[in-house]
Symmetry: C2
Subunit: 330 residues, 2 copies
């Protein structure tokens, strides 16, 4: 009887050590059908013996970045970087004082900048993102990210990441998923900080790329020089193309927030087996921003129609998110 | 004293359970300076407190494929695939009977094929590798790899992988390295089988790519269509460019076997901290093939000069490898 009593005590001790209820992996999500849909999906694809079980190696999850993992208002962060770089580089380019779109950028004249259109923006990006080595550009981005401040919140841009999405990324990885960014932004603008901020390493960041040239410097040092020519625009129909090229497997989960993500969501949804397709809908004018069909940034129109028709998960930021940003926000 | 005697017995038991000497992780490598150099490098970068310690996330290792991980003689495996596909597709292309380079491929006339040059080879590759969806191409490759036989060894091509390199890949991964293929071959020809054969998943296979187009079929199904246009040639100076684009970190170890790998090796060697740069030198005319400076496949000339000048590791296949292929070979 001694033995049995000991065994009973051991069981009681073990039970006491484990919490009565597992900790909520998504504490910043309000209870409701969307939070439930996420949890249900993860259980379906990870439970051995489930008809929807997916082997860990095939648990690929892709996320847009701007507007899906961090704020993209009032202007794309990468554009804020480009404008700051124009100012920093202006002393070496006296001609910019009288040439558009550089004059507009230097004067902070957003109306004139907008008037320069996509061509003008492309000129700004080329002038500030190319013409240096990859190592030099990485350092410039790291320095800027460490010091620049968002105009509304007066905090580093990397503080404007969505706490509920950080929890989702962590939750997925804890369940064997490999998490990727698939962004319209340029790859080298994201890679210096995504590992620290999102836990996503450089090799899992896919985005728009510039042509790059290998070169041996006169001293024999090999460098990669960024050329003022777009290699591939990772937006819209470009996203599934990039996913195939970089990852080589079809994702089973995809999250976006705009029409530029529509084809990535279609491609993900089009695979066989269980799929999770979600949109972040910016509905919170107080804590973040409220915009969709008419917005010049992150326009969400056709993808919203398709999401509603196909019953994809549409996250209502105001209703579904208990918190928007990490704890600095409270 | 009871307690102490028990503890002593426990320690003795534990010691008996662990082998006196750790098992050799590279049993197919003969002892010598090259095997020693590999082991020394791995210890230097993985031992905590070592001045050359590299965090696991930064332990990126890149390998060429043809001639580095598997045999590339008498013709590149991908060319053997293309020739077989020309035969399989010939009934749908009656014009091939009278048009070069297809006629040469159908007749098995290697001299005429060689005379068609790179332009002819490119035509063969386009006609057999593009014009279908990515899913269709993957299935074609998988079926071919399962049934095709190497002309000399009469075995599946995937049996012609180098046992010592398989051991090296496993050894590196066991030490926290992330192993990548960076090949001049096309990505989608490798991805269907690299995980099974090398333990390298699709997302860690980098190579030459074709332009791909996203398309919604009339029934709404999304597909990716492979177009007859090269997107990027991942050879020579293209290799470091691809490494930067796909991986976004500089490797600390690189292995190649030909001049097409030279810039990848330079790029790897050019980083700060401990680096390992190696070449497989095909010196074994009996067990494999013997070729280098004059070969039309896997020409190793300038890279061999640089390796000797810079004291990179040059693996002598005949001298350094106890076995060339996996156990079917013995």
């Amino acid at each position: 009887m001694e033995t049995k009593r000991f065994a009973t005590a051991l069981v009681a001790l073990t039970l006491a050590a484990s919490p009565a209820k597992a900790q909520d992996p998504l504490p910043s999500w309000n209870d409701g059908p969307n939070k439930q849909a996420i949890a249900d999906f993860v259980v379906r694809v990870t439970r051995e013996g489930s008809p929807d079980f997916v082997a860990p190696a095939a648990r690929i999850a892709v996320f847009d970045n701007d507007g899906t993992l961090w704020s993209e208002q009032p202007i794309y962060v990468q554009l804020a970087f480009a404008l700051d770089r124009v100012k920093a580089l202006a002393p070496q380019h006296p001609e910019w004082k009288t040439t558009q779109p550089f004059k507009a950028a230097l004067d902070g004249d957003m109306r004139a900048l907008a008037a320069s259109g996509n061509k003008g923006l492309a000129e700004l990006v080329m002038a500030t993102h190319t013409g240096m080595t990859t190592d030099e550009f990485t350092k410039t981005v790291s320095d800027w990210v460490a010091t620049a401040r968002h105009p509304r919140f007066r905090r580093p841009y990397t503080d404007l990441v969505y706490q509920p999405m950080l929890e989702l990324l962590t939750y997925l990885r804890a369940n064997g998923f490999k998490t990727y960014i698939v962004s319209g932004g340029t790859v080298e603008f994201m890679r210096p900080w995504t590992e620290r901020v999102y836990g996503i390493p450089p090799e899992q960041v896919v985005g728009t790329t510039f042509v790059t040239r290998f070169e041996l410097r006169p001293d024999g040092a090999p460098v990669l020089v960024r050329e003022p020519k777009i290699d591939f625009i990772d937006d819209g129909p470009g996203k599934p193309v990039s996913i195939a090229r970089f990852i080589g497997r079809r994702p089973i989960l995809a999250f976006g927030n705009s029409d530029g993500d529509q084809q990535m969501l279609q491609w993900t949804a089009g695979g066989t087996g269980a799929r999770f397709v979600g949109l972040v809908h910016h509905t919170d004018s107080t804590r973040e921003w409220r915009y969709d069909r008419q917005s010049h940034i992150g326009k969400l129109d056709k993808a919203l129609d398709e999401a509603m028709a196909k019953k994809w998960v549409v996250v209502d930021m105001q209703r579904d998110w208990k918190a928007v940003y990490p704890p600095w926000d409270r």
